[in-house]
């Protein structure tokens, strides 16, 4: 069966088929037999050419969190195809102009007002979470298009807090 996975924003196309006691894995370049056993709800044991890998994993929606050889790897299922990724990249350029909180927290101070010119790395607002202040900085040289928040407001990490515009 074919699978597509995103790791660190890179798309990987692979296939895995069951063959008697084993599995056959292919990444397009090479094909090899692997022995895979489910050990418990969160542990998979993988043997490749005699090498033993103990993989811890957990799933949350379309994300799999894996831990092996002392390393954590997040594997995502792409929601769409390669085209989607290109769109996502385009979107992330647009996203650069939207300032979000790095994590849920409380707005302490807003340092700018709408239509104000801002420089890259200028502090726009301060959000506090877990008793720590985080400065939200401008990602671009431009101006403040819209402010969606007010001091004291609780925000999550999804909500657009401030929209920036590029200098024309």
């Amino acid at each position: 069966m074919d699978f597509e996975f995103l790791i660190d924003n890179k798309l990987h196309k692979i296939s895995l088929e069951k063959k008697e006691d084993c599995f056959v894995f292919s990444d397009g370049e090479k094909t090899q037999e692997v022995n895979i056993q489910s050990i418990s709800a969160h542990v998979i044991s993988v043997l490749i050419e005699g090498h033993s890998y103990q993989v811890y994993w957990a799933k949350d929606k379309e994300r799999r969190y894996l831990f092996l050889e002392g390393e954590e790897i997040v594997v995502q299922e792409p929601t769409t195809s390669q085209e989607g990724i290109e769109k996502r990249e385009e979107k992330s350029r647009e996203d650069e102009l939207i300032v979000r909180a790095p994590m849920p927290g409380k707005v302490i101070k807003i340092n700018v007002s709408e239509n104000e010119r801002v420089r890259k790395n200028q502090t726009l607002a301060i959000v506090e979470a877990m008793k720590m202040e985080n400065e939200l900085k401008s990602t671009v040289d431009g101006y403040v298009k819209k402010i969606h928040i007010s001091p004291g407001e609780l925000v999550d990490s999804e909500k657009p807090l401030i929209e920036l515009g590029l200098k024309d």
């Binding site: 699978f3 894996l66 092996l68 390393e71 877990m130 008793k131 202040e133």
Partner: protein, 501 residues
């Protein structure tokens, strides 16, 4: 001895204290905020009471409510843990007035050492070296400017009521002074309810060496040697160890005696920590007294064999210290790593969310003090410490290697943690060499991104994901057999008992 203790805290430290109480045959009352109903400390305590909404100011810092709960549950003593009300003299005083024993220092000593300015003055008078800087709390910016010019930049802004790095800012030049003061005051206000700040000379790359002290109510004082806590980010410790690679026996003895003197002149009782900064020339300056059980107390426990929480409770109940200074020895070496819910790739921003899976490290000489479990939620409202990993071995290098492997063996999935970063700290050649100063992270691990994933690990990750993908197409084994069982004759028989009528 007490019959029942209320623990006015949450997280790993509350779990630690509950365990000590269980061992001592004392029953425990946990308090919790509305978001902490499913927290480990609530599950483990004998009794648990909700004391208010999520924000700490309405729950874990709500003095009236906590005192009232202690009365209502008939707790004779309150252990405040660390953070929250642990160093709040008003709270300690209120406990004294309400005939509840506060497991910590008396309120008068707490007020003195909690007031950084007053304690600086007291120590200077007692002939103890302090860091150059202010001995008052001005409000006027020009006074700050003047003092900064007098002692010379860089200077450190510190919260008078401070601790845990909150409100602290290093200022390198005058134009940064005003915004840093504002931010420091805001942070201090939010963390301690008191916005007073002062200036101290910022010592470049000192070592942070502190001494654990125990003082009973009869005036007997012992020190339990040092902890070196130089590895810090955001002025907050993340790796601690004992013995310090920087101390020779003579210096250790001198600092230990000074620590005892600090405790004596403060009229301090119960467990406390005297913090010093040690400069390159091995001068040591009094920094402050941490009037509480420290996060890093386990390294002292593992090298001295003394259980500090037992001692705290025993001293608070009025018992005399059962050992003298001469009986205390340091054995082997211990290192602690603090596991925080933070993203080390993104400026150590706190990361809240759900712990999807947890596997603690185990093995000879490995201790795990944690407040988390598989499936628990890490709320945004509190300090992001999740757990502490502590190791002991015969010497520093063995302890260091043991820690590297313990970190490699420690799995937390679902939220970002400092585990991978800590592994690189402990593995660093400069850490191995014992060259630990407060500038360590900035100097050696700034802009840390972690190792690049190996081809093989990537491949295994893809294989494991595909394997799960294949499995999730069909009903899982567990579900399948459960479905079968639902229709098995054993299920349709209804309730029955062997030999029943």
């Amino acid at each position: 001895m007490f019959r029942k203790i209320l623990i006015a805290n949450r997280g790993e430290i509350t779990v630690r204290i509950i365990k000590a109480c269980q061992e001592m045959g004392i029953s425990t009352v946990a308090v919790y905020s509305e978001v902490d109903r499913k927290s480990l400390h609530v599950q483990m305590a004998d009794e648990a009471v909700c004391i208010g909404p999520a924000p700490a100011i309405e729950s874990y810092l709500n003095i009236e409510r906590i005192i009232q709960t202690a009365h209502q549950m008939k707790a004779e003593a309150i252990h405040p843990g660390y953070g929250f009300l642990a160093e709040n003299a008003d709270f300690a005083k209120k406990c004294e007035q309400e005939n509840i024993i506060f497991i910590g220092p008396n309120s008068k000593a707490l007020r003195l050492v909690g007031d950084k300015i007053r304690s600086r003055k007291t120590m200077e008078k007692a002939g103890i070296l302090i860091i150059p800087g202010m001995k008052s709390l001005p409000k006027d910016i020009t006074k700050f400017k003047k003092e900064a010019q007098r002692i010379g930049y860089p200077v450190m802004i510190k919260a008078s009521a401070g601790g845990g790095g909150k409100g602290m800012r290093v200022v390198y030049e005058e134009k940064e002074l005003k915004p840093s003061l504002e931010a420091g005051m805001r942070e201090a206000k939010s963390a301690f309810g008191d916005e007073s700040v002062y200036l101290e000379k910022f010592l470049e790359e000192p070592r942070h060496v502190e001494f654990q002290v125990l003082a009973d109510n009869q005036g007997n004082i012992v020190h339990l040697f040092e902890r070196e806590c130089s590895i810090q980010r955001r002025h907050q410790k993340i790796v601690e160890e004992t013995p310090s690679p920087a101390l020779e026996p003579a210096l250790r003895a001198k600092m230990g005696e000074t620590a005892k003197k600090v405790i004596e002149v403060s009229g301090y009782n119960n467990a406390g920590t005297v913090e010093f900064l040690l400069d390159k020339e091995k001068n040591f300056y009094f920094l402050e007294v941490n009037a509480r059980l420290q996060v890093e107390h386990p390294v002292t426990e593992l090298t001295t064999g003394v259980d500090l929480v037992h001692q705290q409770i025993s001293i608070a109940s009025g018992a005399k210290l059962s050992f003298k200074q001469e009986a205390l020895l340091q054995k082997g070496h211990s290192i602690e790593c603090r596991i925080y819910a933070e993203d080390p790739r993104n400026n150590f921003l706190p990361s809240s969310g759900k712990v999807l899976f947890l596997k603690e490290s185990t093995g000879p000489g490995v201790r795990h003090d944690g407040g988390i479990y598989s499936g628990c939620e890490v709320p945004i409202y509190y300090d992001p410490i999740l757990a502490k990993l502590i190791v002991w071995a015969e010497n520093r290098e063995l302890a260091r290697q043991r820690m590297v492997h313990a970190l490699e063996d420690y799995v937390i999935l679902g939220i970002k943690t400092t585990i991978g970063f800590l592994k690189d700290v402990i593995s660093h050649p400069q850490y191995k060499a014992g060259n630990t100063t407060t500038g360590f992270i900035k100097r050696h691990l700034d802009q840390w991104e972690g190792k690049k994933m190996t081809e093989k690990n990537l491949e295994v990750a893809l294989i494991a994901s595909a394997f799960d993908g294949l499995n999730s197409l069909q009903p899982r084994k567990g579900e399948e057999s459960l479905a079968k069982e639902m229709f098995s004759p054993w299920q349709s028989l209804g309730k029955w008992r062997i030999g029943g009528k």
